[in-house]
């Protein structure tokens, strides 16, 4: 099954694949610029957590601990980096990070990283819809230190 089958809003013209497939990290890790762990509550997470903390609010709290605050939309703002949280029901399903050119980057589970033009491009039955945008002042890329996650 290819990406266009999994994501009905994705077209050949609104995304590009930017990495090989890997199970080393997931979308949450990718948003946090970590590429050596699969970030999951109760397993490897930036704040104290249990495995049941898989709700949308739990992910918002995790990103708050990384310096993000809720914001009303995903429009590009100079000097800020934004993220989009997707949810279905109570559960978070995905997160995407905005790039300096206003497009978005996502790691698709254990598939590839992609760049996509809009957040809507990944809305589907499994990912649901974007339920929250967050932003923080832009900071140069860095890997989170081991002491920041647990």
């Amino acid at each position: 099954m290819n990406l266009l089958d999994l994501f009905p809003n994705l077209t050949a013209f609104n995304h590009e694949i930017t990495s090989e497939k890997t199970i080393k990290y997931n979308c949450i890790a990718w948003v946090a610029r970590s590429t050596d762990r699969w970030w999951q509550p109760g397993i490897h997470w930036p704040i104290m957590s249990s495995r049941e903390d898989i709700g949308i609010g739990d992910l918002v709290l995790a990103f708050r601990s990384l310096g993000y605050d809720e914001c009303p939309d995903g429009s590009f703002e100079e000097g800020f980096e934004k993220l989009a949280i997707y949810g279905s029901g109570f559960m978070y399903t995905h997160a995407a990070r905005q790039l300096p050119d206003g497009r978005w980057t996502s790691k698709l589970g254990q598939l590839e990283d992609i760049t996509h033009s809009t957040t809507e491009a990944l809305e589907c039955s499994d990912y649901g819809k974007v339920v929250q945008f967050m932003k923080r002042p832009f900071r140069p890329e860095r890997q989170p230190q081991a002491s920041e996650v647990g």
Binding site: R37, L108, G109
Partner: protein, 105 residues
């Protein structure tokens, strides 16, 4: 938990459920959502008999089998420092399987 011969029907059912689970969850990131897949729940429901089959899968490649293994066996051999490291977690479970006679040494 000792190694016993796994019947062909059990093996075939496991493979069918595994293929279905993998096909439906490759693009997902939340292990809660990944492990809620009906096929994954069915595999957990098959109980201790399928532990050697799951371990053999992990021997081939890392995947999100850890929750099923922990649910079935009540064990978690993954070192705290390796949590979230898919490859190290898979290796820890394979080592546990060998130590417990569930995988060939």
């Amino acid at each position: 938990m000792a190694t016993t011969a796994i019947s062909q029907p059990v093996h075939e059912r496991f493979q069918k459920l595994r293929d279905n689970w993998k096909a439906k969850t490759r693009h997902l990131s939340n292990v809660g959502q990944i492990s809620l897949a009906f096929s994954y729940q069915n595999i957990i429901g098959m109980g201790p008999e399928v532990v050697p089959l799951i371990l053999a899968e992990l021997e081939k490649e890392p995947d999100h089998w850890f929750w099923a293994l922990e649910a079935i066996t009540g064990e978690n051999p993954v070192n705290e420092n390796d949590a979230g490291d898919m490859e190290a977690s898979a290796k820890a479970w394979v080592k546990w399987g060998r130590q417990n006679g569930l995988l060939a040494k």
